[in-house]
Symmetry: C2
Subunit: 208 residues, 2 copies
């Protein structure tokens, strides 16, 4: 498989982590082999869609024999570049930031929060888990020195853009934004959003 | 506008909360009028897409004069049925559940967490904000009695399906799932997922 896969639609890339999560779960349950039908049933995605998505990367399975889970996991981890551990800078050590820092789901899925910053003097120097909270003004220097490419922003909406600008200037290229605003970023920076209300409002449309 | 809008693609519904969030932000910044171009610039969505999405509901704007923000907000809130306050049941009072319970972003956007449940005896009876943590076995009765339709699940992956089954049997019709597994639910139940790792993995694909 080429390490630089060209022209894959972003919507396909967006489904790969979901496949990877399902495969990990299947493996934890003791399965060694699966099929596009089984994956589809678990995920509510058609088996044809799954086969088509995976065909962008050359397939991975043989007709009739299904997918070897360990192999498919490895391949997807390689495509998504999470067969390594990415350092992540976290900005914001309020309730939300602290919960993010304590979240155990990052481990073994490619990420490690390695530094936490906050602008509030009364938070600086305190600990979140193993990490000491550092002052926000140190963030650009530390991000640049360590070559950190990923950040999570868990600050109030009114500060999020300014924080993003500082981080991007220091070298951050991908941001997971927990603040409920859309960030303006250069074309070579990716942003993903975590806003539970957007998901809730999408569901109430269907309720009586 | 009809209260029951037929045949709108779910992907369009999914963008409406993002428009609503941007409009709220514009209003907070003191704007009274906006355009599909301004919204599009803020959101990284084409203005044509925005006009097309809104045309499903009859438009809301006049060619050349833009959108009156207060009016468009009201209309979107009505379409999404968040011009009311929905009670939400939260299951799981660990780090993540507590952060969700403390999250201030739900207020004024249509939601109020009105009860918190946990299966751990050492958590039951303690408080999260204004709410006393109740035992998980009380959840079905309370959800049914109060007619609660929405739930958030913030329990470990291995318990999430069982919790979902109990809640659905009690009347829950929409679930925001923070546990990193895909839930199996009946066709008349909606699920949305919050899994930060899925978003992170979607971005590392593009990094060097």
């Amino acid at each position: 498989m080429p390490s630089n896969v060209p022209n894959i639609p972003d919507i396909v890339i967006g489904r790969l982590p979901i496949y990877l999560r399902a495969l990990t779960r299947l493996q934890q349950e003791g399965h060694e082999v699966t099929s596009s039908h089984e994956l589809g049933r678990r995920l509510g995605i058609s088996s044809a869609q799954i086969r088509k998505d995976l065909s962008h990367f050359g397939g991975f399975g043989k007709q009739g024999t299904g997918y070897r889970i360990a192999y498919l996991r490895e391949q997807l981890e390689q495509v998504l570049k999470v067969n390594r551990e990415w350092e992540v800078a976290l900005v914001g050590a309020g309730d939300l930031g602290r919960a993010v820092a304590h979240y155990k789901g990052f481990t073994d899925r490619g990420f490690r929060i390695s530094c936490v910053f906050d602008a509030a003097p009364n938070k600086v120097g305190k600990s979140v888990g193993d990490l000491k909270i550092m002052p926000m003004e140190d963030a650009p220097k530390i991000v640049a020195e360590r070559g950190i490419k990923l950040a999570m922003i868990a600050v109030p909406a009114e500060n999020a853009q300014e924080v993003a600008d500082l981080l991007i200037a220091a070298g951050i290229r991908a941001i997971l934004n927990y603040a409920p605003i859309s960030l303006k970023v250069p074309d070579d920076v990716r942003v993903q959003y975590i806003d539970p209300v957007v998901h809730m409002q999408r569901m109430t449309f269907y309720l009586d």
